[in-house]
Symmetry: C2
Subunit: 258 residues, 2 copies
DNA sequence: CGGCGACTTGAAACGTGTCAATTAGCGTGG
DNA sequence: CCACGCTAATTGACACGTTTCAAGTCGCCG
């Protein structure tokens, strides 16, 4: 079901990981060399010890499928992925986008079963760690426990926010909030660049409009219309897989018009 | 901010807790006497020891407010409550309904800050436990850790399901799923009754239509229309704060039409 | 060159929201 | 006992936001 090779790279399909630094001229934290910087370091030294293997999957391929069983816990090192739930009629809902440094899901720390499909958006590199050993370390190191609970709370707050957005906000708000959320998370990772007096925020943006649609509960057609409107009114600029928030203040207002 | 009395009952405003047994003729688990049966027993003996106090709040009053700080972790003993997020324009989104035995939120185990308002729907009795001691016990007893992770996974799966429902399902599906979810959770607690050949499922149902609206991202007016349609087509019967699913099979089909 | 996927645009259909009027139930106080 | 005010729920007409359907552009790759 999953690779058992320790400290080994498997499935390398491309020499270079997706990197935000190429476009944004920002040096992102290097999740590749420094896995310990990920969300759940029991202690920096310990985590490395539990590493199981490193994997690379191409864009559009799956990292793991729904109901897959794994005794390994995956952490994204490079690239963007999405946690997706698919309904029987083919419609999809993206639960969250996974960025470098993200644990795929905190539930995977406790349970081998994946509750949703995880799909690579760009090429993705991820590492896996043995659940059993991680769990032991967690109980031995109280400070690692705090790191875990932080990840957990974060995941929960994000999910709750999405519930509110889908339940109570318009298409414009949902899309603007999605973009702002991603911008914030990328900024934390040093993967954005700013420029100008009302500092515009620039970032790599590998999402297709259908990803935005799947995340916001809208149709791709409507996403296209809303983004066009955003562009027309000078809020954002999108080109060549990169997005710039031209007027962050006004954009934040359209993201929360109540 | 919160009571500090140990093993003491405060704010008792009524002699009787809301109880499903009066209507459904079922004997529910007694969360009052047996707090240890709640979701997070470190060990049954230990938990009782950490009890801080018992509270009762009337219907429509708040159990805790958003951004409240508590060093106590609340567990519902009797009654129904809702975890709610309020937007600045007054619209509300219910994140989850809390039933007897539910920990209000697993994040409260790790963090004193409440991320949402918790509001009593019926009169609610709840107990609180000291976070600091609970946390210590959690680390000492690995088996309690498993109970906790089960609660966390459950909370997460439920939240993810709600995201899918709000993002991708119609009003009819959302409402039917909400009712079925509640029926399932009540059944686990022995708070439902069945009767007939295609066994109809009966339960107490204290929700107002505006609760359903807030939980499903709809308006009360539309909820009324959908429920009327359900009634007209013989799917459910609602009267006197009690709800009966007359045709569970057909109702499940309307809850998942894809 | 042809085909394919991503995106755009417009017209029409549909689901849900908004507004308004009405009824029923319930507790309070005269 | 009834009148009153309040909240919950119902119903119909209409408005609005989003989806659906369809046609068309553009860039990319075989």
């Amino acid at each position: 079901m999953n690779a058992r090779v320790r400290h080994a790279t498997v499935e390398s399909t491309s020499p270079h990981a997706y990197s935000a630094s190429t476009v944004c001229h920002v040096r992102p934290i290097d999740w590749e060399e420094n896995a310990s910087a990920a969300q759940l370091p029991p202690t920096y030294a310990d985590l490395i010890e539990f590493e199981q293997s490193t994997h690379t999957v191409a864009a559009r391929r799956t990292v793991c499928r729904e109901n897959d069983l794994h005794d390994a816990v995956p952490v994204i090192c490079a690239g963007w992925a999405a946690a997706v739930i698919t309904l029987s009629d083919g419609s999809r809902q993206i639960l969250s986008f996974l960025l470098p440094g993200d644990l795929v899901s905190t539930t995977l720390l406790f349970e081998p079963r994946s509750h949703c499909l995880v799909e690579a958006i760009t090429e993705v590199r991820y590492r896996t760690f043995r659940r059993s050993e991680l769990k032991g370390a967690l109980l031995r190191h109280p400070e690692s426990f705090d790191a875990l609970s932080k990840a957990w709370i974060d995941e929960k707050v994000r999910a709750d926010q999405l519930i509110v957005d889908l339940g109570r906000r318009t298409a414009d708000e949902r899309i603007a909030r999605l973009i702002l959320n991603l911008a914030e998370r990328l900024a934390q990772r040093g993967m954005t660049a700013t420029s100008g007096e009302t500092p515009a925020i620039k970032m790599e943006f590998p999402l297709r409009q259908h990803h935005i649609a799947d995340a916001t509960g809208l149709t791709p057609v409507h996403v296209s219309k809303v983004l066009s409107e955003f562009r027309r009114s000078g809020l954002v600029e999108i080109s060549d897989r990169s997005l710039t928030i031209l007027d962050p203040a006004r954009f934040r207002r359209t993201a929360d018009m109540r």
